[in-house]
């Protein structure tokens, strides 16, 4: 089994996947061809990490699986520690980093893969000047803090006018926006589409999550 995992095919697959992700997120911006993109050491390192994870997953019995840590909580600090916002090609050791826009079913994939995509997206819009690099970094750190505190979905994201950035969570009738301004102000906005109930709260980026905001975020727990 190990022999079949360590093959040139897998390495090619990994390399192709990395290239596809990079191409997708750079397609609207200037092409960057730094040597770092093709860093074989990094590729090898990711490949070994992926291989070990696959083997470990295949060896885990259903009984042992009961004692596995919650994936979100165990991944987040590690990701936070290992990969800063500016790290250009970290893959979090997860093979299923999706090239292209994920479908809703794909969005249920691993947290690490979704975070990888999210970070690439922030880097892309910062590179294109839609948001500042500083806001991109702050927004990335804020997302990791939120995920560490609350076991929620990775939000959708979109730049707004005048250099703002939005994170959006949707689930059934629940809708939550986190609007981040270039000056570090933030605004939470919640709306229940059925009852029409609204809630909003102003705060600052990367301060401890307000209690009311945390309770709203819990409506969007990962399935």
């Amino acid at each position: 089994m190990v022999g079949s995992v360590i093959s040139g095919e897998i390495l090619d697959e990994e390399r192709n996947r990395t290239n596809r992700v990079r191409d997708f997120y750079q397609q609207d911006g200037p092409r960057e061809t730094s040597h770092d993109d093709l860093d074989l050491n990094r590729l090898w390192s990711n490949w070994w990490r992926n291989s070990f994870e696959r083997i470990a997953q295949s060896l885990t019995s259903p009984w042992l699986a009961m004692f596995k840590p919650i994936p979100n909580r165990s991944y987040v600090p590690w990701i936070f520690y290992k990969h800063a916002f500016d790290d250009s090609l970290a893959t979090f050791g997860v093979p299923e980093a999706t090239p292209g826009r994920p479908t809703e079913s794909e969005a249920k994939k691993s947290l690490a893969g979704l975070l990888h995509e999210h970070r690439l997206y922030l880097q892309k819009i910062a590179r294109e000047g839609e948001i500042s690099q500083e806001l991109g970094r702050s927004a990335w750190t804020m997302l990791l803090s939120i995920l560490f505190e609350e076991d929620v979905d990775v939000p959708d994201a979109i730049p707004g006018v005048d250099g703002k950035l939005f994170y959006t969570w949707k689930s059934g009738e629940h809708y939550l926006d986190l609007e981040m301004f270039p000056d570090g102000e933030t605004e939470f906005f919640y709306r229940n589409a059925q009852s029409g109930r609204l809630w909003n709260l102003s705060s600052r980026i990367n301060v401890p999550l307000p209690r009311e905001a945390a309770s709203k975020l819990r409506l969007f727990r990962r399935v």
Binding site: D28, R101, P102, E104, A107, E117, H118, Y121, E128, E130, D156, A157, I158, P159, G160, V161, D162, K164, F166, T168, Y175, D177, F189, R191, A193, G196, L198, N200
Partner: protein
């Protein structure tokens, strides 16, 4: 006052004067960027920019679908590759939206013609003759009321908008340098 002909009558649509209402039943489009996942429109797609807000009559720029194609609208809004979709809305629906909370009362959203002007070589303002520019209009009263009311209107617009992705070939044109 409504200007032009209702599509229910099957007539042709003509550009109205500044501030005239679009006829009922018309469809309008807005050029926008999609979000990271690109599933649906987002409320930020309906937010007025600083420039829009500073206009004498603040309106959100839209285009009457029968006078402006998706492609023309995209070109007229600066050929930005990041603007990769158009959002389609019915004029009647826009007018029917009610902010939440409904108090204090605010004017209903209105869809009005907003002719585009350009300066000619003598510096005189003339009507823009670019293909599709006749369809330019705007959504008015998006800046009225409290912050939550304004946001709720934008969220409702986003919920009701139909997203139509622009062809990649067209977006590539925006990425390419403009020929002199």
């Amino acid at each position: 006052m409504a200007s032009g002909t209702s599509p229910e009558l099957g007539g042709a649509l003509a550009r109205g004067n500044d501030g005239d209402h679009l006829p009922p039943g018309e469809w309008v489009i807005r050029v926008a960027k999609t979000s990271k996942y690109g599933y649906a429109a987002h409320q930020s797609n309906f937010e007025l920019s600083t420039k829009d807000r500073e206009a004498p009559i603040p309106r959100l720029s839209i285009w009457a679908e029968r006078l402006t194609t998706d492609e023309q609208a995209w070109r007229l809004t600066g050929r930005k590759p990041a603007n990769d979709a158009v959002l389609r809305l019915n004029v009647d629906l826009i007018r029917s939206l009610v902010p939440e909370p409904s108090e204090p009362p605010t004017p209903h959203l209105e869809v009005e013609w907003e002719p585009r002007f350009v300066e000619n070589e003598h510096g005189i303002r003339i009507l823009d003759a670019e293909p599709g520019s006749a369809g330019h209009a705007g959504i008015r009263y998006l800046r009225y009321g409290q912050s939550a009311q304004r946001t709720s209107l934008r969220v409702q617009l986003a919920e009701n908008a139909v997203v139509r992705r622009l062809p990649e070939l067209l977006l590539d044109e925006g990425a390419a340098p403009v020929k002199q």
